[in-house]
């Protein structure tokens, strides 16, 4: 995968591109792409993958003009247009799934297939989604992984919050990334998608880790009930970060889309 930059109406956007096959646009979750790079490599064996960063993620420029869900949705369509991709397979994980769902609802004729991987965007009172914005870094692995120990190791590799320099860089990154994510996820990660899901026409795959403790598998059914043509792929022994924990299974499920 190669990291590149493309200009859009509002802001230059950083994106990874690589692989061959049908075009697939992958939208990352609130944690960014750091944990998904291997997954993208695997995906690139079957697809021509484009994975843009939300402005403010990684080394990309922030975009204060993106304030609400419609801004995020239209901006991401702007990115797809700028990339010259027509009728892509649209895949999104967690926050990225929420954006992908909104995009498919807004422009139902422009999406070939839709894959929502443990997407945010709905809220069920019986299954409240834990507040990641109030979590301390070392509390995150508990809600993100099936294998908490392995997950924590991968996530915190090289992290030393006791080192003031590291802490400052970490806080800046958090402010940039989660500051942007908060526009659509804070304080409740729901912006009315439930009322728009009926518009989605694309054949849709809902991929979920069976042990997801952030967005409970009950949400898979809620999405399925609201989308006309949706199939659920429930992956055992996986938590919220299912593309990281069960890379091969998620790639295999996505491959069935073509």
């Amino acid at each position: 995968m190669e990291l590149k930059t493309i200009n859009t109406h509002r802001v230059p956007v950083r994106y990874y591109e690589g692989g061959e096959g049908p075009p697939l646009v992958f939208l990352h979750g609130a944690g960014g792409l750091v944990m998904d790079l291997q997954f993208l490599d695997q995906l690139a064996r079957r697809f021509h993958v484009y994975a843009p960063l939300v402005p403010g993620y990684g080394d990309s420029e922030e975009c204060p003009e993106l304030r609400d869900m419609l801004d995020f949705t239209l901006h991401t369509w702007d990115v797809v247009d700028a990339l010259g991709v027509r009728n892509p397979i649209l895949a999104g994980f967690s926050m990225g799934g929420m954006i992908a769902g909104e995009m498919a609802a807004l422009a139902p004729h422009d999406v070939a297939r839709l894959a929502l991987i443990a997407p945010a965007g709905l809220w069920l009172d019986e299954h409240p989604i834990p507040d990641i914005f109030a979590m301390l870094p070392y509390d995150l692995p508990k809600v993100l992984f099936y294998d908490e120990v392995a997950g924590a190791q991968a996530m915190t590799a090289g992290m030393d919050l006791g080192d003031p320099k590291f802490l400052q860089a970490f806080l800046v990154e958090n402010a940039r990334q989660l500051g942007a994510a908060g526009k659509i996820l804070f304080p409740i990660p729901e912006r009315g998608l439930a009322g728009r899901l009926y518009r989605i026409r694309a054949k849709t795959l809902l991929i979920w880790g069976e042990s997801d403790k952030l967005i409970a598998p009950a949400y898979a059914r809620a999405f399925q009930n609201a989308i006309a043509d949706a199939e659920v792929v429930m992956i055992p022994q996986a938590g919220h970060l299912v593309p990281f924990e069960k890379t091969a299974e998620v790639v295999a499920a996505l491959s069935r889309l073509v």
Binding site: F133, L171, V172, G182
Partner: protein, 415 residues
Amino acid sequence: MRFTWFNLMPWPYLPEDFREQNRSVWVDISGNLFDPVKGHALYNDYMDLLEYAGGVGFDGIGVNEHHQNGYGLMPSPNLIAAGLARRTDQCAIVVLGASIALYNPPLRVAEEFSMLDCLSGGRLVAGFPVGTSMDTNYCYGTIPGLTREKYAEAHELIRRAWAEREPFAFNGRYTKLRYVNLWPRPVQQPHPPIHIPGGGSLETFDFCIDHTYSYSYLSFGGYIRGKQLMDAYWDRVAQRNTPDTSPYRAGFAQFICVADTDSEAERLYAPHVHYFYNRCLHVYPGFADAPGYRTIKTIQKGVLSQYAPGSLFQEHPWKDLVENGHVIAGSPETVRQRMEELIEGLRVGNVFCLMQIGDMPKDKCMHSTRLFAEKVMPKLRHLFAEYAGDGRFWCHPLPKRAVPAEVRERPLVDA
């Protein structure tokens, strides 16, 4: 010098094992810990204390806004201020302040402050905090990354509402109003003096300088730790070529305990100070700073929330708390010396005296308050005499003010 007697209104009945049994004193504190019957007595005691301070010579009495908070029982400071306006007649009513980004529409703040200014005869000192992340983001759900933009818009609306005399349309991003038409208007024209409580954000320094507002640092860390931040503020004032360096451009909050002797101060007040630091400041660090609340520029300057991990001071012995300046405590002479250090060292014309601390009972608090008013305050009045005429940051009451009348029905004269 302006001395404001400030009450946070802490809940004094947090159990001894509060820290062990609870994650946080703020945001998700258990509702089971609040007892409304005790609350009834407590609000009245706390208002009595504020009124007492207003009567013994403090320039102002102060309240502020917190939500879901075990050490700050004033979700609505304006309610308390309204009560205080009726039972005091000389002191300023300092509301420090109303979190303007949290009101929908924020015009509400312009209205209520106007009411308070009318009610008190122009004794209002108004405060516009951005609000802590706990209050603004976690309790009231404001999106962290949009908080400052929302605040700026609310500020613009309030200032225009106070200034304009004819209805106008306000097309904001967060507030859209077809007919902004403020009734009532404040006594003080063009507007009551404005103080901005801040926690070190550079944007807030500039905001105060640009609008001639007083910058107040409401820290619980005391004046020795606070110096670094206030120095940064005064550096910024100099850098920006501000026309003057009046000490009234700045304020500072300080815990103060006065007794007849130093050892008496420890005996009387130490348990209550410990209560505050050990129970009231038990804030879950995950609520300290929602990502996006603080700007990148501010984080890069190394300014962190006083509630951030590692910032809180716990289990310090009394001696350390006093020596480090967290608390200024002792005999009137000891307190005078240290207050001088604070006032001159930080260059602050406004001092917010935190004298009700933790679970300190009313009688002790009145004792400390009276000693400060009688034996300390008069000896600090001479400081910054050259700026005594600077009226920009304090209220200007009407010379003749109404007093609450005794309620007695008189025979109706029917002409």
